[in-house]
């Protein structure tokens, strides 16, 4: 609470009085403003505090598991726990390698895990095992930090570890059954073939040195391929991690999956679209512009509605693919168009002299783009890109409208069968808002810190 000037004794140190004079009481208008606004704030704060104390938090208390993971089967929750612990361990490693904002986050996560594990209240289903997982995530931060310090890993390896963890985590959450080997391979081939065709096409058009691109591709692919086969085949034989249909994913888990997959997918597409829009080739440019403008011209809900309800009309009879995947598809489409416009701004900001300089040094078109132009362009628009990530994260809540149960959907569905909770709508939606706020605020904070450390915007 901010004290109104009347209640502060005048005999306090000169510093405070001086500060008050400069910041709150510099003119008669300011005095009046301070008094009025201060009083109103005080009244609002008291009312809010009173409400918070008297509020009925039982819907959240009793449905915490739903809010976190939706209908994910209880006996399989160890998999979520394992993914979280893996991620926190990597956070520890990242802290050791990068420091900075990672240090802050890793510490906060560890502290949060510790606090939750030791908190005396017991929401429904919050048993010893769950507490141990929270404790484990706190411990794994420390462990990761120790390992990172001891092994003195390079940033390159940490990035690779995160990328691998992304695929492994998704695979583990999804799970395997005896049918999954075939479908995994098919998906892998489908995705890989598309990627290859796109890159090969881009290589031809933009004169990329194919060898470089393909070497990366071959390596990445080989790793993912081996891992997939081992996991799908090995685990498909056992009951260790049976397939959990995405229709059972929900709550914060679903929100995170939608956001992370959306971010990972929309960033490269956005870069390609931005390059396409700047291309001198009329067809490439025209297609990019048409896509970007069409997508930006309509609301995200209509795109979600399109992929969920309308697209099946355009597919062969009986084709069916995953609802969550379709939602991700719409979110990615939408976000990549905005991403492209942000990156285009960055590309325009790179001085022509940089490109000429690179050419003069004998770099090819692809090398110039990859090593000279893109890094500068992306650095210049980090705030805009992170802003777009934040938007995407918030936009995941729209999947409620097509019937998915993300954290907001869970909040809404609580009132379906529970008339006794009708009175607690404010509590539920405020809780959901608070959860979203914590993560978006963290992203904004990280963006600010990274920006500062890179010296963007200090001009």
């Amino acid at each position: 609470m901010v004290g109104t000037p009347e209640v502060l004794p005048p005999s306090t140190s000169v510093g405070i009085v001086g500060w008050l004079k400069a910041n709150l009481l510099s003119s008669p208008v300011n005095v009046a403003l301070t008094v009025v606004v201060g009083t109103l704030t005080a009244i609002a704060a008291v009312a809010m505090a009173r409400w918070l104390v008297s509020a009925d938090w039982s819907p959240i208390h009793e449905s915490l598991k739903l809010f976190l993971v939706g209908q994910y089967p209880s006996e399989e929750l160890w998999r979520i726990g394992a993914v979280v612990v893996g991620a926190t361990a990597l956070m520890g490693v990242s802290w050791a390698v990068w420091g900075g904002v990672m240090r802050t986050f890793a510490r906060i996560v560890a502290a949060a895990g510790l606090i939750v594990a030791l908190t005396p209240i017991e929401p429904a289903g919050f048993d010893l095992a769950v507490r141990l997982w929270y404790l484990g995530s706190a411990a794994s931060v420390a462990l990761g930090f120790a390992v990172g310090r001891a092994a003195s890993l390079g940033p390159k390896w940490v990035i690779r570890a995160w990328a691998l963890a992304f695929f492994l985590g998704m695979a583990l959450i999804w799970g395997f059954d005896e049918r999954s080997l075939g479908s995994s391979l098919r998906m892998l081939f489908g995705a890989g073939a598309t990627l290859t065709v796109v890159l090969a096409g881009a290589g031809w058009v933009g004169r990329f040195p194919l060898a470089v691109v393909l070497r990366w591709l071959a390596w990445g692919w080989a790793v993912v391929f081996v891992v997939t086969i081992v996991m799908a085949w090995g685990l498909g034989q056992t009951d260790l991690a049976p397939r959990v249909n995405t229709s059972r994913w929900g709550g914060l888990l679903l929100t995170f999956v939608l956001a992370i997959v959306g971010i990972v997918a929309s960033f490269p597409i956005g870069v390609l679209l931005a390059l396409g829009r700047r291309s001198r080739l009329p067809v490439l440019k025209g297609l990019s512009v048409a896509f970007i403008e069409l997508v930006r011209g309509v609301p995200l809900v209509t795109l979600l509605f399109m992929t969920v309800v309308i697209v099946p009309l355009f597919l062969p009879q009986g084709t069916s693919f995953d609802l969550v995947l379709r939602a991700v598809f719409a979110i990615t489409l939408f976000s990549s168009a905005y991403m492209a416009e942000n990156i285009r701004g960055g590309l325009a900001a790179v001085p022509l002299g940089q490109i000429e300089g690179a050419k003069a040094l004998g770099l090819g078109g692809f090398q110039t783009m990859l090593f000279i132009v893109l890094p500068q362009a992306l650095r210049a628009v980090i705030p805009a890109i992170v802003g777009q990530f934040i938007s995407l994260f918030k936009d995941t809540s729209l999947v409620v409208i097509v019937g998915l149960l993300d954290i907001l959907g869970i909040g809404k569905s609580l009132f379906l069968g529970n008339v006794r909770w009708f009175g607690a709508q404010a509590e539920v939606y405020l809780f959901v808002a608070a959860v979203f706020w914590v993560f978006t605020f963290a992203m904004a904070y990280a963006s600010r810190k990274v920006e500062e450390s890179l010296g963007v915007g200090s001009r």
Binding site: V2, N23, L24, S26, N30, L33, T34, V37, G38, T41, G201, W204, V205, R207, L281, P282, V283, L284, L287, L294, R296, G297, V298, P299, L300, V301, T302, F305, M306, V309, I310, L313, F314, L315, P316, Q317, I390, K394, D395, S397, L398, V400, I401, L408, G411, K412, Q425, A426, Y429, L430, V432, A433, F436, W437, T440, F441, A444
Partner: protein, 395 residues
């Protein structure tokens, strides 16, 4: 040498390494790819139309819609056509978008200025507001406003009476509203005359100001003239041209006055509070973008601080502010589609109902997309118009 021999003896860059050839081929491949994907989709749709009797035409649009719409700007009846029902949706979207844009701009500018206030309390309160609201998804906020606030208002029989009278209940906000009486037309005539006089005065005064270089109150005087003529007209009309329409509690609900339904109220409050945070940041950045030297120089030239703000800082800030502001207006318009979750019958909500009731998913979906694209293009055109004007001034 014959052309064929010349071709065979060609020793330059081989075709598969010729950039122009490669680029042309690449473009051809991408066009073929896009076209074949489109053909694939359309072929499937056509076969679906064949096999499953899917209707693709727009001929149903003049059939009777049959479904009710909660509220509408223009009069609607279930016996009206599907096309008209769709028009009702568009009108409702425009209503939300226009009112939203006006209020969000007012609030956003106020908060943006507050962020730059010399008063610590005001500055930080504005900061807390911006950082809290913009980081929470709009849909969550809409749910909160509609389900937790507007529906939790008192029952209609126990409505809260605010001065005015304004009644607040979970059936909405009912307030006193002007009602035209028989003399309204006479008064309107006076107002028209007043408008002509005011515009003429403004023109004359501006010209004098430009010629003499002395301020001639070209803003205040025309307004005064307009107000004066309006007042004369009010008295001359005899009976007061505007009456009061006061809401009174009927058997089930209030009647008379103006009404804001809970659905529209929640949508408007949500849209305005959310968009205003972005506008505030745009305004703040815009004003900060004007270098301090500009205002110092203006003050040194003897301009008052009000004149400095109005004539020097503001026009320059505006150039930075307007383009992102317009894209916020566009976002607000698009975000009004979230009303589907809180029962305000805007374009998307009505469209979805139509899809189900008419059984024509594809044509109606195309209509929805076209309507949103048209609105986006309108905002983009406004933005381009402004940019062009600013550029002209610059030259």
């Amino acid at each position: 040498m014959s052309p064929i021999r010349r071709l065979l003896s060609y020793r330059g860059i081989p075709i598969w390494r010729d950039v122009r050839v490669l680029q042309a081929a690449g473009q051809l491949v991408s066009v073929m790819f896009v076209v074949s994907v489109l053909v694939f989709f359309v072929a499937n749709l056509m076969s679906a139309a064949d096999e499953r009797g899917l209707s693709l035409g727009f001929d149903f649009l003049d059939q009777e819609a049959g479904f009710p719409i909660g509220e509408s700007v223009i009069d609607y009846h279930p016996a009206d056509s599907f096309l008209y029902a769709f028009g009702v949706g568009i009108a409702n979207t425009l209503k939300a978008a226009l009112l939203g844009v006006i209020f969000a701009t007012l609030l956003g500018v106020a908060v943006g200025l507050a962020r730059l206030s010399s008063n610590w309390l005001v500055r930080n309160l504005a900061g807390v507001y911006v950082q809290t609201i913009r980081n929470v998804p709009l849909l969550v906020q809409l749910f909160f406003w509609y389900f937790a606030v507007f529906q939790a208002l008192p029952l209609v029989r126990e409505a809260v009476r605010l001065p005015g009278p304004v009644y607040l209940s979970n059936r909405g906000l009912f307030m006193v509203w002007p009602r035209m009486t028989s003399t309204f037309d006479t008064w309107l005539g006076f107002l028209a005359v007043g408008l002509v006089v005011a515009v003429g005065l403004r023109f004359v005064l501006m010209r004098r100001e430009r010629r003499s270089g002395r301020p001639s109150h070209a803003v205040v005087v025309p307004w005064l003239a307009f107000a004066a003529i309006g007042a004369i007209g009010w008295i001359a009309a005899g009976e007061s041209p505007l009456g009061r329409s006061v809401p009174t509690l009927g058997e089930f609900n209030f009647e008379g006055g103006a009404r804001i339904t809970p659905e529209f109220g929640a949508l408007l409050v949500g849209l305005v509070l959310y968009t205003a945070t972005f506008i505030a940041e745009i305004v703040r950045a815009g004003i900060q973008s004007v270098s301090r030297g500009q205002s110092e120089a203006a003050l040194a030239l003897g301009l008052s601080s009000f004149q400095t703000t109005r004539l020097v800082v503001f026009p320059q800030a505006l150039r930075v502010i307007v383009p992102p502001l317009i894209s916020q207006y566009l976002n607000l318009t698009k975000n009004s589609s979230l009303a589907v979750a809180i029962a305000y019958p805007e374009l998307f909500t009505v469209g979805r109902t139509m899809i189900n009731q008419a059984g024509r998913a594809v044509p109606i979906f195309l209509l929805i997309m076209a309507a949103y694209l048209a609105m986006s293009l309108t905002w983009a055109a406004v933005g381009n118009l402004y940019n062009r004007r600013v550029q002209m001034v610059e030259h």
